[in-house]
C-alpha cells in the first residue's frame, strides 16, 4: 500500500492559519500580560496573511484535493477571503473591550483562529465528512469562546445552552449524513450527487429522511425558525466581543454549508428541500421581525434581526437558480458587513464597567459622537433595506430570484415583513437622533478602530450606490 501525498497547494491558506494558530498558542505562553498585544498582532497578521494568500491564488477552475475531501473553487475563495477580513475587523473592534474587562488573553485569539480554520474547512468541504469536521471545529471554538469570561454566570449559562443545543444539532446532521451515506454509498459530494441524480427521491425513502435530518441540522446552525431558540440567548449572554464574532463570519460559513450540502450534494432533490426551505424562510422572517419589536436589549434585538435576515437569505437559495445562489451569497456578504458594523458600534459604546446593552444606551448618540451616530444610522437603514444602502440591493436580488421562479406570493410575504422589521431599526435611529443623551462621556476610539468603523459604514453606502462590482464577483464565483 502506497501513501500518495495529496496536493497541498490548494490548502495553503488553511495550513497557514493552522500553523500560525499553533504558533500563537505557544508564543502566548511565554508572554507577560503587558506583552499580550504581540498575540493580538500575530493573530491579525495571520488573518490578513491568509486573506492575501487567498487573493493571490484566486481560482479559475475548481481543484479537488485531499482524496476528494476538499475543493478549492471561486465561491470558496471569495467566502474565505471575506471570512478572514471580517474576523480581522472583529478582533480589532474587540481589542479595547477585552482589555477593559481583563479578557485580553491569548485564548480569545487562538480560539478565534481555530474557529476561522473551521469555517474555511466548511467552506471548502467536498465531502460530508470534511463538512462535519469543519463544523465541529468551529462549534467547539465557539462554545469555549462564549464561556471565555468564566466569572460571568450569564455567559456560562449561555455557553452551556449553546453546547447542549449545538451538540443536538450536530447529532441530527450526523444522523442525516449517515443516512445519505447509506443510500448512496459515499460521502464524497460528487459521488453523492451522481447517485442521487440516478435514484431520484421518490423511490428512496432513506434519502428523503436523510435530507430532512440534514435540513434540520443546517437550520439550527443558521438559526432559522423553528430551530432558532439558542440564538437570542447566546447573543445576549455572550460577551459582546464574542457576539460580534458569532454574528459575523460564521454566517458566511453557514451559507457555504447549505450550498455544499443542499446544492452541490443534493441538488437533484431541489424540489424536496425547496418546500422545507420555504417554510423555514417564512417562519424566520415572521418570527424574527415580530419578536424583535418587543426587545429592549440591543444584542437580543439584533439576534432576532439575524433570524429574519436568515429568512431572506434562504429565499435566494430556495429559488434553486444560479442567480438565486449568487443573490444569497451577495446577501450573506452584505449581512456580515452590516452585522459587524452594528455590533461594532455596540462594542465601542461600552466602556470599562459599562455594557451598552440596551437600546436606550444609544440615546443622544448624535450629540456625543455625530460620526458614530451616522455610521449606526447607515447600518440600521441598510438592515431595514432602504436604498442607497447596500442592504436594499441584498433584499432586492433575493426577491428578484424568488419572483423569477414564479413565487410572487413569497416575495410579497418577504416585503411585508421587512416593513414590519423597519420599525425596530427605526427605533434605534430614533434613539440616536431624536432623544436627549442621559450620559455625556465622550466616546473614545483609537485611530485604527475609527478608520475601520468608518470604512465599514462607507462601504455600505458605496456598495449602495454601485453594487455591481460585488454582485458580478458573486455571480462569476458561482458560475465556475
Amino acid at each position: 500500500m502506497n501513501f500518495v501525498a495529496p496536493d497541498f497547494m490548494p490548502v495553503l491558506p488553511e495550513l497557514f492559519v493552522l500553523t500560525m494558530a499553533c504558533l500563537i498558542l505557544v508564543v502566548d505562553v511565554f508572554l507577560e500580560q503587558r506583552q499580550r498585544h504581540i498575540s493580538y498582532a500575530l493573530a491579525q497578521l495571520t488573518l490578513l496573511g491568509a486573506a492575501l494568500l487567498m487573493l493571490l491564488s484566486f481560482s479559475r477552475a475548481p481543484v479537488v484535493t485531499m482524496f476528494g475531501h476538499y475543493i478549492k473553487d471561486a465561491m470558496g475563495d471569495l467566502l474565505k477571503f471575506c471570512i478572514c477580513l471580517a474576523s480581522a475587523a472583529v478582533f480589532l473592534y474587540s481589542r479595547d473591550y477585552l482589555r477593559q474587562r481583563d479578557l485580553f488573553k491569548g485564548e480569545y485569539f487562538v480560539l478565534g483562529l481555530f474557529g476561522v480554520l473551521g469555517m474555511m474547512v466548511m467552506v471548502s468541504a467536498h465531502s460530508l465528512l470534511s463538512v462535519y469536521l469543519g463544523l465541529e471545529l468551529l462549534s467547539l471554538s465557539l462554545y469555549a469562546l462564549v464561556a471565555v469570561d468564566r466569572d460571568s454566570p450569564v455567559a456560562s449559562e449561555a455557553a452551556m445552552k449553546y453546547f447542549v443545543l449545538g451538540s443536538l444539532a450536530s447529532g441530527m446532521l450526523l444522523y442525516g449524513i449517515s443516512m445519505i451515506y447509506g443510500a448512496t454509498g459515499s460521502v464524497d459530494l460528487q459521488v453523492v450527487a451522481d447517485a442521487v441524480a440516478k435514484q431520484g427521491a421518490a423511490t428512496n425513502l432513506v434519502l428523503v429522511f436523510g435530507l430532512v435530518f440534514l435540513v434540520v441540522g443546517l437550520a439550527f446552525k443558521l438559526g432559522a425558525v423553528p430551530f432558532h431558540m439558542w440564538l437570542p440567548d447566546i447573543y445576549q449572554g455572550a460577551p459582546t466581543s464574542v457576539t460580534l464574532y458569532i454574528g459575523s463570519a460564521p454566517k458566511l460559513a453557514a451559507f457555504a454549508l447549505v450550498m455544499r450540502i443542499l446544492v452541490d450534494g443534493l441538488g437533484s432533490l431541489q424540489g424536496d428541500w425547496q418546500q422545507m426551505l420555504i417554510i423555514l424562510s417564512v417562519l424566520s422572517m415572521a418570527l424574527g421581525n415580530l419578536v424583535a419589536i418587543a426587545q429592549s436589549n440591543i444584542k437580543r434585538m439584533l439576534a432576532y434581526s439575524t433570524i429574519s435576515h436568515v429568512g431572506f437569505l434562504l429565499l435566494g437559495i430556495l429559488a434553486g437558480t444560479p442567480e438565486g445562489y449568487s443573490a444569497s451569497m451577495f446577501y450573506a456578504i452584505i449581512y456580515v458587513l452590516m452585522a459587524i458594523g452594528a455590533f461594532g458600534v455596540v462594542i465601542l459604546l461600552s466602556r470599562a464597567g459599562f455594557e451598552a446593552e440596551n437600546i436606550d444606551d444609544f440615546k443622544g448618540l448624535n450629540d456625543r459622537n455625530p460620526w458614530l451616530a451616522f455610521v449606526m444610522m447607515v447600518v440600521m437603514m441598510s438592515m431595514a433595506g432602504i436604498p442607497f444602502m447596500a442592504g436594499f440591493y441584498a433584499k432586492w436580488v433575493v426577491l428578484q430570484a424568488v419572483v423569477s421562479i414564479g413565487l410572487v406570493w413569497l416575495a410579497l410575504v418577504g416585503v411585508l415583513f421587512s416593513v414590519i422589521g423597519a420599525f425596530y431599526y427605526l427605533r434605534v435611529v430614533k434613539c440616536i437622533y431624536f432623544d436627549k443623551s442621559e450620559q455625556s462621556e465622550a466616546i473614545e476610539m483609537s485611530g485604527d478602530v475609527q478608520i475601520v468603523i468608518s470604512a465599514n459604514g462607507l462601504l455600505l453606502i458605496l456598495l449602495g450606490v454601485y453594487p455591481t462590482a460585488l454582485m458580478t464577483w458573486c455571480a462569476t464565483a458561482l458560475l465556475n
Binding site: 432602504i386 432586492w396 419572483v403 421587512s418 423597519a422 427605526l426 430614533k430 455591481t468
Partner: protein, 504 residues
C-alpha cells in the same frame, strides 16, 4: 453647448454633494453652514434653469438624456431624462429648496448644519425621482427620500414628532414595497428596467390589475388619497416649517407624477377599467376632506387637509380621461384634464408652500398654531396680512391666481365626462373658499385677539423676500399659465395617444 453638459446629473448630485460639504462644515459653525447651504441651493436652482430654456416643446421624447450602465447583470441603468411632466416639477423642487433654506435661517438653532444638509440632500433625491427613466433608479431615489425626511421631522419637529415621523416612514415604506414587487415582476417580463420599455410591455388584464393596485398603494400613500391620508396631518403638524413646505410642495407631487409616469401608461386597460375607483376616491377627498378641513383648530392641520383636497383634484384630472373618451369617443378636452392636474400640482406646490411659510412666520413669533390664539393680526402685521390674504385667495381658487387655473381646467373637462361629476367636483370652490377664508378671517381680521397679538412685529426683510417670491410665482402662473402649459402639450398628447391604445 448646454446639451453636452450632463445637466440632470448636475442638478441631482450638486445639492447632494453640497449637503455633504455643509455637514463637514459642522454644527460648530452655523453661520458658515447657512451661507454655504444658501449658495448651494441658489446655484442648484440656477443650474436647473437651462432645463427650461433649452427645452424643446415640440416633442414628447425624453430630453437631456443621460445613459450609463449601472447594474448590467439586471440590465438596470443610470438613465436620466425629462419630458413635459418632470421638467416643471424639477424646477419647482429647486425653487422651493431655496425658500426652505431661507425660511430656516434664524429659526433653526439646533444642529443647523445637519438641518440644511438634510434639505439639500433631499432636494437631490427628489430631483432624482423626477429625472429617473430607469425603474430601479426611480425606486432607489423614491425610497432614499424617506431617510432625510424622517430625520427632519424627528429631530426638528414638534412635541409628537416621533409618532408622526414613524407613521410617515412606515406608511410610505409600506406603500412602496408592493411597487417594488410589481417592478421586479415586470422586469422578468421585459428583461429590462427601462420605464419606457415597461410602457410598451404587453400585459394581460389580470396582470395589469395587480400591477395597478401595487402602484396605487405606492402612489396613493404619497399623494395622499383618502383613506390612506392619515399620516399627512400628523407629519405636517409636527414637522418644522421647512419640512412641511417640502412635504406639501414636492413629495405629494411625486405621487401624482407616479400616476402619470407609471400607472397610466403601463396599465392603461386596468386604469380604464378601474377609473371609477380613483374618481370616487378623489371626490371623497375633495368633498369629505374639505369638510374635515373646515373644523380644524390647528392652522397647519387645516392646510394639511386642504392639501389632500387639492390633490384630489389632481388625481381626478388624470383619471377623468377615460370617462371622457368613453362618453364622447374622442380625445378633445381630455388633454385639458391631465394638463389641469399638472397645473394644479405646480400651483399647489407654490400655494401650500406659501401657506405653510405664513404659518411658520406666525409660529416663530407666538409659538402657537391654534387659530383661537390669534385674531386681528392685520393691525400689527399689515404687510404679512397682505401676503396671507393673497395666498388664502389663491388657495380658494380666485381667478387671477394660479389656484384658479388648474381647478378650472379640471372642472371644465369633467363637464364633458358628465354633469354630476363636475357638479361634485365644483364643491371644492365652495368648500375651499369656506375653510380658507374663514381661517383668514379668524386669524387676520377682527379686533386684536389678545396681548400677545398686540406685541407682534411685522415680517422682516428675509421673510418678505421669500413670501414675495412665492407671491410673484402664484400671480404669474395665474395670469399667464402658458409658459407652463406649453411645455406639456406634446407630452400630454403623447400620453393620451398611448393610453387609448389597448395593451391586451
Amino acid at each position: 453647448m448646454l446639451s453636452e453638459l450632463p445637466l440632470l446629473s448636475l442638478v441631482i448630485w450638486f445639492p447632494i454633494l453640497g449637503g455633504i460639504a455643509v455637514l463637514f462644515v459642522g454644527d460648530d459653525n452655523p453661520g458658515r453652514a447657512k451661507w454655504l447651504a444658501l449658495t448651494v441651493a441658489i446655484l442648484s436652482f440656477l443650474i436647473s434653469l437651462p432645463l427650461y430654456s433649452a427645452f424643446d416643446t415640440t416633442t414628447a421624447a425624453m430630453q437631456f438624456q443621460e445613459f450609463m450602465p449601472w447594474i448590467p447583470a439586471f440590465n438596470a441603468n443610470y438613465h436620466l431624462g425629462v419630458d413635459g411632466f418632470s421638467m416643471p416639477l424639477i424646477l419647482l423642487t429647486a425653487f422651493m429648496t431655496v425658500l426652505v433654506v431661507i425660511a430656516g435661517w434664524e429659526v433653526i438653532q439646533y444642529r443647523v448644519a445637519q438641518y440644511m444638509a438634510a434639505f439639500l440632500i433631499m432636494e437631490g433625491l427628489m430631483i432624482g425621482v423626477f429625472a429617473a427613466l430607469d425603474a430601479l433608479l426611480f425606486y432607489v431615489f423614491f425610497e432614499a427620500m424617506l431617510i432625510p425626511m424622517f430625520l427632519i421631522i424627528g429631530i426638528w419637529g414638534g412635541p409628537r414628532r416621533v409618532y408622526a415621523t414613524l407613521k410617515f416612514f412606515l406608511y410610505t415604506f409600506f406603500g412602496s414595497v408592493f411597487m417594488l414587487i410589481a417592478l421586479i415582476y415586470m422586469y422578468n417580463q421585459a428583461n429590462s428596467f427601462e420605464i419606457l420599455d415597461f410602457h410598451k410591455l404587453p400585459l394581460s388584464i389580470t396582470e395589469q390589475t395587480w400591477i395597478f393596485f401595487a402602484f396605487l398603494l405606492g402612489f396613493s400613500v404619497k399623494v395622499p388619497m383618502w383613506p390612506v391620508h392619515t399620516w399627512l396631518p400628523d407629519a405636517h403638524v409636527e414637522a418644522p416649517t421647512g419640512g412641511s413646505v417640502i412635504l406639501a410642495a414636492i413629495t405629494l407631487k411625486i405621487g401624482g407624477y407616479g400616476f402619470l409616469r407609471f400607472t397610466l401608461p403601463i396599465t392603461p386597460d386596468a386604469s380604464a377599467m378601474l377609473d371609477w375607483l380613483i374618481i370616487t376616491l378623489s371626490l371623497v377627498a375633495v368633498i369629505y376632506i374639505g369638510f374635515v378641513a373646515l373644523v380644524q383648530q390647528d392652522m397647519k392641520k387645516l392646510i394639511a387637509y386642504s392639501s389632500i383636497a387639492h390633490m384630489g383634484f389632481v388625481t381626478l384630472g388624470f383619471f377623468i380621461v377615460f370617462g371622457l373618451y368613453r362618453h364622447t369617443g374622442n380625445l378633445n378636452g381630455a388633454a385639458m384634464g391631465v394638463e389641469g392636474g399638472m397645473v394644479q400640482m405646480v400651483s399647489h406646490g407654490f400655494i401650500s408652500g406659501a401657506l405653510f411659510l405664513c404659518v411658520g412666520v406666525l409660529y416663530d413669533r407666538m409659538h402657537s398654531r391654534q387659530i383661537n390664539d390669534y385674531g386681528g393680526v392685520v393691525n400689527t402685521m399689515p404687510v404679512f396680512a397682505a401676503f396671507m390674504v393673497l395666498f388664502g385667495m389663491a388657495n380658494a381658487g380666485l381667478p387671477g391666481t394660479s389656484g384658479f387655473v388648474g381647478e378650472f381646467m379640471v372642472i371644465l373637462s369633467s363637464f364633458k365626462a358628465g354633469f354630476w361629476l363636475a357638479f361634485l367636483a365644483s364643491f371644492t370652490l365652495i368648500l375651499g373658499a369656506a375653510y380658507t377664508l374663514w381661517l383668514v378671517k379668524r386669524v387676520i381680521f377682527g379686533d386684536i385677539g389678545n396681548s400677545h397679538v398686540a406685541e407682534l412685529e411685522d415680517v422682516n426683510c428675509r421673510e418678505i423676500i421669500m413670501l414675495s417670491l412665492l407671491a410673484a410665482a402664484v400671480l404669474l402662473l395665474g395670469l399667464w399659465p402658458d409658459p407652463l402649459t406649453s411645455v406639456m402639450h406634446a407630452t400630454v398628447d403623447n400620453l393620451l395617444q398611448h393610453i387609448t391604445v389597448t395593451k391586451l
